[in-house]
């Protein structure tokens, strides 16, 4: 079958005035004659459709991604920013900063709120209203924001917090936090960024781990670590981290 045959086959089978691309649903003529039948059953037809579909999906994929991030942005504007801020740097220390946190970490936490692995009176109902397909877009949105730092008010406390964060306490078997959360506090997809976080939020999370109130991935380890810390040490580490 030559190119001319393909063209006449296409013309016979598809009404191109309706739509120019058969793969996109160009109307198949219902009364096409023998040429159409022959063409439709030929491998050229299938190959043509596959090729067109492939080209189209490539061209459209950019715009589908844009749609994802547009939806995510809309969600942030209409929902998340009320607590977490439009740029993910919340002002109320009850609500954690999300800016610059690893997207996969954020997605994991959202999934845990939905599954109940991690409990939060505030986040659980909110996360459950979201379409899980949106999680990735939200993670990427916040992950791309520039993380802000807090203010260190007590330098002496921050210094002792730094020692604990970077070196741990060998006598009591307190691991250095930097071992997982990195020496800059930037964390990874597995261990969250702590640098620049609200100190009150950090203190609350550490206390929640210590009292077994916080559950979820990594919680078994964190519950043990925090049980080896005093109240003062928790405050000191938080004071240090907020300034990073």
């Amino acid at each position: 079958m030559g190119w001319t045959d393909i063209r006449s086959g296409l013309a016979a089978c598809y009404d191109f005035k309706q739509s120019n691309q058969p793969a996109k649903g160009g109307t198949l003529k219902s009364d096409c004659g023998g040429t159409c039948a022959n063409f439709q059953s030929s491998p050229w037809h299938t190959g043509f459709l596959i090729q067109t579909a492939a080209v189209l999906s490539f061209l459209l994929s950019g715009s589908v991604q844009a749609a994802d991030s547009a939806t995510a942005k809309a969600l942030v504007v209409n929902l998340c920013s009320a607590c977490h801020g439009l740029d993910g740097n919340s002002t109320d220390p009850k609500f954690p900063k999300l800016a610059g946190r690893h997207p996969e970490y954020l997605v994991r936490e959202l999934k845990e709120f939905v599954s109940g692995a991690r409990k939060s009176d505030i986040m659980t109902p909110i996360a459950k209203t979201l379409d899980p397909d949106e999680f990735k877009g939200l993670g990427e949105y916040f992950g791309a924001q520039k993380p802000g730092s807090g203010v260190v008010l007590d330098q002496k406390m921050a210094a002792s917090g730094m020692k604990l964060y970077q070196d741990g306490d060998e006598e009591r078997g307190v691991p250095a936090c930097s071992g997982c959360h990195s020496s800059t506090g930037a964390g990874s997809k597995r261990f969250p960024r702590l640098a620049g976080q609200h100190k009150e939020y950090l203190i609350q999370q550490m206390q929640d781990f210590r009292s077994d109130a916080r559950s979820g991935a990594g919680s078994r380890l964190m519950r043990e670590v925090t049980k080896r810390l005093s109240d003062d040490e928790i405050k000191a580490v938080a004071e240090y981290l907020t300034g990073l």
Binding site: G168, P175, A176, S178, R190, L221, E224
Partner: protein, 227 residues
């Protein structure tokens, strides 16, 4: 002459049995003595698994807070250098700590089943075995090395090797260049029956050692070059 000899042999047929009974017969169930390093349960499972170095590197990150990046440990003796240790030995220690056979309340929660999976133990062991060994990070005072060398060659070479390289198949750890204070702490713990998963032969060997003897031999081992 032959007749006399035969009579003697017949009379003393029971002697070899006594020698056997005194020797290292494996402990039987209910004898009250647990066999050393029984390959059963999770330990058996892990030893059968294929460990993956890349996965092990990721899984090891939760251990870095104490054992440090590069698994170099601490010269204070709190945490051993793990880099380059035999994977078999590491698997034995991790599973023994997890099950409580080796008494280590500081580490046990971090080796808990909710923190590390069975596969991760195999992965971590494989990763650590492949790490470069930094020797002599925590050397001893160096004031009784001759005594230490003499003791080591008399009592320790047979298991830990003439270079302190250990034996992977027999689960004898590599000791060359390990932190002095860690070696000392473990030697004391094994001599005094505190460790829990100590090799009974080793406990027997160390029983007559004074604290000074243990210091000397630990000092000597901490100075051995990395294999």
């Amino acid at each position: 002459m032959v007749k006399w000899m035969t009579k003697l042999l017949v009379a003393l047929w029971w002697l070899p049995l006594v020698a056997l009974a005194q020797g290292q017969a494996p402990a039987t169930a209910g004898s009250g003595v647990r066999a050393w390093n029984e390959i059963k349960g999770e330990k058996r499972e892990v030893l059968k698994l294929q460990g993956d170095v890349a996965r092990g590197e990721e899984a090891f990150k939760i251990c870095q807070g104490c054992h440090k990046q590069g698994a170099t440990g601490s010269s204070s003796g709190a945490y051993p250098r793990l880099a380059g240790q035999h994977a078999t030995v590491l698997i034995e220690q991790m599973t023994d700590i997890r099950s409580g056979i080796r008494r280590n309340p500081k580490m046990a929660p971090f080796a808990d089943e909710h923190v590390l999976t069975t596969q991760e133990i195999a992965d971590i062991a494989r990763f650590l075995q492949a790490l470069p060994i930094q020797a002599n990070l925590g050397r001893g005072p160096g004031n009784s090395l001759d005594r230490g060398k003499a003791l080591y060659e008399k009592d320790c070479v047979i298991c830990h090797g003439n270079k302190g390289q250990g034996d992977a198949e027999k689960f004898f750890p590599l000791v060359a260049g390990q932190h002095f204070k860690y070696l000392l702490r473990q030697a004391v713990s094994i001599r005094d029956g505190q460790r829990g998963n100590a090799n009974p032969d080793m406990a027997k060997v160390l029983k007559p050692y004074s604290d000074g003897d243990l210091e000397a031999v630990a000092d000597y081992m901490s100075g051995l070059a990395a294999p």
